[in-house]
Symmetry: C2
Subunit: 199 residues, 2 copies
DNA sequence: GGACTTTGTTACTGAGAGGTACCAAATCCT
DNA sequence: AGGATTTGGTACCTCTCAGTAACAAAGTCC
């Protein structure tokens, strides 16, 4: 399902949609939605305004596209980290370590675009409740991690642990975006390591 | 420390600063900083623009005043809830119940102004790192709650539990602002009740 | 080659943003 | 009473915002 209906007819597009969306994702992620102007978007993307509007629609529609793309990418990252972490309770600790590595990176300090957009747009945009979608898909991934880590636990307990971890991770993104230093960030990771030890 | 240097000389002010700040806090809290215009601020406050600028400075300075005021009020709420919750591990559960009552209220659905502003302004405004201030003061309150709840725990453990709860509560505000329904909100509270039972 | 279609580029629009100049009104001090 | 000082209120400023009209350029199809 491409954005352009018929790619063969007419003058060929000089820019790559995916590359532009990747750049704009980073831009929105850094600055937020309403604090990013179309002028900046034109500058960063290298695509002139009428082309942007023809391709992606209004600023709001463009941001919705960015959000859907980011959501899939983000969940993919969770899947990869959980895969890499392995089974057992050690897998939970390894997952947290991998997550911390990403968190203290340059991009990690921007927090999570979903959390940022949830706060700015109250979780939905143009009728699409992206925030609920994000929590649900994130929960599914965390549940996989915990089900493999705690094979003897009943589903209700797995769910409670999952809900705790999801909420914790959302809060962590708030901290990351707020400019906390590596020491404070590590304290928060330490806290959940300690908690996971009782599981 | 009043905002007006000399209250006696000149025409008396027709509006109450505190009442105006309370209204504007609610407005910023609902809409966010950059999505709230000076025109709206004039309309809600009933104070004309030049008076606002004379009294509170620029929009940015006004918001800084709102943030400091809100921070004190918010920490006061934590203090009150913790006082009301009482000692022992039961105090933690009661604190959470009281907090949930506030969370599912109309205002609770707006989340926390500090969390919202942290996401929008990356934790600081005009050189004031309000976000770090908030986490520190919030941590102090939670530590009091947990120290009374777990009198036999070593300080390191109290600190770890505190850091977990602080991060969890920040994440919860993200969920609240995103428009989650009461059932989902209750699930997240249940998750931390289950965790607190192992303390 | 010529009709058709889509894209790149420039210039522009109306609306709304944050912020202020200016003057009348209301108080205090002498 | 009259200057001094502060506030209320109207009208205005400049700048930037999202969005678009119009036309040239670059392709496909017949």
């Amino acid at each position: 399902m491409s954005l352009s209906a018929n790619a063969a007819i007419g003058r060929p597009r000089l820019f790559d949609e995916e590359a532009v969306l990747a750049k704009l994702t980073a831009l929105f992620w850094r600055q937020g939605y309403s604090q990013t102007s179309m002028t900046e978007i034109v500058k960063i993307s290298g695509v002139h305004k009428p082309s942007l509007y023809r391709t992606f629609g209004t600023k709001e529609e463009l941001f919705a596209i960015v959000l859907r793309r980011y959501l899939a990418e983000r969940i993919g990252m969770f899947t990869a980290l959980i895969e890499q972490a392995g089974p057992g309770i050690g897998g939970v600790h390894r997952f947290l370590e991998l997550f911390e590595g990403d968190a203290i990176s340059e991009r990690g300090r921007d927090g999570c675009l979903m959390v940022m957009a949830s706060n700015e747009l109250r979780g939905s945009l143009a009728g699409y409740d992206f925030s609920a979608d994000y929590r649900r898909q994130m929960g599914e991934q965390i549940r996989i991690l915990l089900a493999r880590a705690l094979p003897e636990a009943v589903p209700e307990l797995i769910q409670a642990r999952t809900d705790l971890l999801v909420t914790y991770l959302l809060g962590l993104q708030v901290v990351l975006r707020s400019g906390a230093d590596a020491e404070e960030i590590h304290r928060y990771f330490h806290a959940v390591h300690v908690t996971a030890d009782t599981w």
